[in-house]
Amino acid sequence: MSREETTLRVPFLLDMEYRYAVGQYGRRFFTELRDHARLMGARCPECERVYVPPRPVCGICYRELHEWVEVGPEGTIVGWTVVRLPFIDPMTGEQRPVPYGFAIIRLDGASTSLYHFLDETDERKIRVGQRVRAVFREKREGSLRDILHFRLLEE
């Protein structure tokens, strides 16, 4: 038998929609972002770590987080890359334009990191420790994409 005859496959297309509840902490985080272009974290009363995005409990101290603090919009690059491999963006179904910069960003005042795009794609111009600032969209809808990207700051 030819190879073609021995490799019959059954196609299965799965179209699955989810409606994730963002919850109480997520609702406040995204509302502040949408209405005031403000990034908020929640501080642990014990270890004083500030979690961004905010969450109900500090995983280390197991204490409830009730104190809200503003963080950013400036921060520091903890790690970065420039993505050059083209792939289909699951959020849009379209190919993501490459290249694009991507970074782990420690916002000022935060103890955890936010992951987001950079406005730079030239690897020679990006470095760990570099200062960045969030660029917000004019029209915001209450999602992480309300931040367009992070802009590298002149030093």
């Binding site: 059954v10 299965f12 989810y18 994730y20 509840a21 902490y25 409990v57 995983g59 280390i60």
Partner: protein
């Protein structure tokens, strides 16, 4: 041999849609309640077993998204992607190993966030079954028809289960669906897939639950009214197309193992409360028989002698998948610790919790609990 006790438990109210809570908030609520009830601080709990399903959560490795709220940072955590009662078995095994004294068992599921028919459809064979749009309901209807035919049951006989379940659920503050229905009300509810009517099928639910397991030594130090897990049994049957759906061989075998471990010879006499994972009314009849609780389940229910079976109302009154099996153990624990409120069965000393998973109950779990 080491013994394992349940120190405390909590569950959310079952609701069709808990839209205001994210998964981590839902789970934190029940874990917090367990800590508050038992007085055990999270830092003393050494291991966690969680139960959830990636397909319902829309997220792979779904256990990792809740690890901070179950207190799992830098601790031993494992996820069971099956019925929640299997997570309990895993937690018991962890303590019996001698490695851990305290283990938290947690389950969560929100059917409202995904598409349950599509998700249960993924259980089916992709070559000869999925192209036919089979889902769990269709399979259950085929089983119900086969079982009723074999036992000579009428639609009215099966509807009795629903009448009892919804009546008992009136006393359960966690129930999503409860009410005083007659047999004709049940049979007048919409036919979902012949012979199953809406009131004979578990509703779609969101919910979470948690319980804390302890070694006997630790339990005795923390409570003077321990409830012990004295028997466990688990058994898997053939794929649903490869067996007679009117038979419950895997459940009989799981029960045999659990009874042997617990030293139970006459379950009909020795089991005072049974919480059964019947997602469809006919499954309760099958389970009563397979568990040896009564040879004629319809007669038992018709004569009003089945109040000790699913005093909570069972899954027909709220059934978040995965959570449902673990809730059976929590209800059994509540009965034995005298915390079952209006649904309390007086004098219960030995209780049975039953969990099922897979198409037409391919996988079966039985747990026996006893108070001193």
């Amino acid at each position: 041999m080491r013994r394992v006790a349940i120190l405390g438990a909590a569950q959310t109210r079952f609701e069709a849609c808990k839209a205001s809570l994210a998964y981590n908030e839902l789970v934190y609520g029940v874990v917090r309640e367990v800590l508050d009830r038992t007085g055990v601080p999270m830092r003393e709990i050494e291991s966690m077993v969680t139960a959830s399903q990636d397909a319902y959560d829309g997220k792979t490795i779904s256990g990792m998204a809740i690890n901070e709220v179950v207190g799992a940072y830098l601790k031993s955590e494992a996820k069971v992607a099956a019925d929640g009662l299997q997570a309990l078995l895993y937690g018991v095994a962890r303590i019996l190993s001698g490695e851990f004294d305290l283990t938290l068992v947690v389950a969560h599921c929100k059917e409202s966030e995904g598409d349950p028919a599509a998700i249960t459809g993924l259980m089916f064979d992709p070559f000869v079954q999925r192209p036919l749009h089979l889902d769990e309901l269709t399979a259950a209807a085929l089983q119900a028809r086969r079982y009723c035919r074999k036992k000579g049951l009428t639609p009215e006989d099966v509807a009795l289960v629903s009448v009892k379940a919804h009546r008992q659920a009136l006393k359960n503050p966690y129930a999503q669906r409860a009410g005083t229905f007659s047999v004709s009300d049940v049979l007048a509810s919409p036919l979902l897939a012949d012979p199953i009517h809406e009131l004979e099928a578990a509703p779609r639910s969101d919910g979470a639950c948690a319980l804390l397991l302890a070694s006997e030594a630790r339990a005795r130090a923390l409570t003077d009214r321990p409830v012990f897990i004295v028997g466990v049994g688990n058994c898997t049957d053939a794929y649903w197309t490869e067996r007679d759906l009117a038979e419950a061989g895997a459940l009989q075998e799981a029960a045999r193992r659990a009874y042997a471990m617990a030293g139970i010879r006459e379950p009909a006499r020795e089991i005072h409360v049974a919480e059964i994972s019947a997602r469809y009314a006919h499954e309760e009849l099958m389970a009563i028989e397979a568990l040896g609780l009564h040879p004629n389940p319809v007669e038992l229910i018709a004569e009003g002698r089945a109040e000790f079976i699913n005093p909570s109302g069972g899954p027909l009154c709220g059934n978040p998948p995965t959570v449902s099996g673990l809730v059976r153990a929590i209800e059994a624990y509540a009965q034995l610790s005298g915390e079952a409120g209006a649904r309390q069965i007086e004098g219960a000393r030995t209780a049975l919790a039953h969990g099922a998973g897979g198409i037409c109950g391919q996988n079966q779990t039985v747990v026996i609990l006893r108070r001193e």
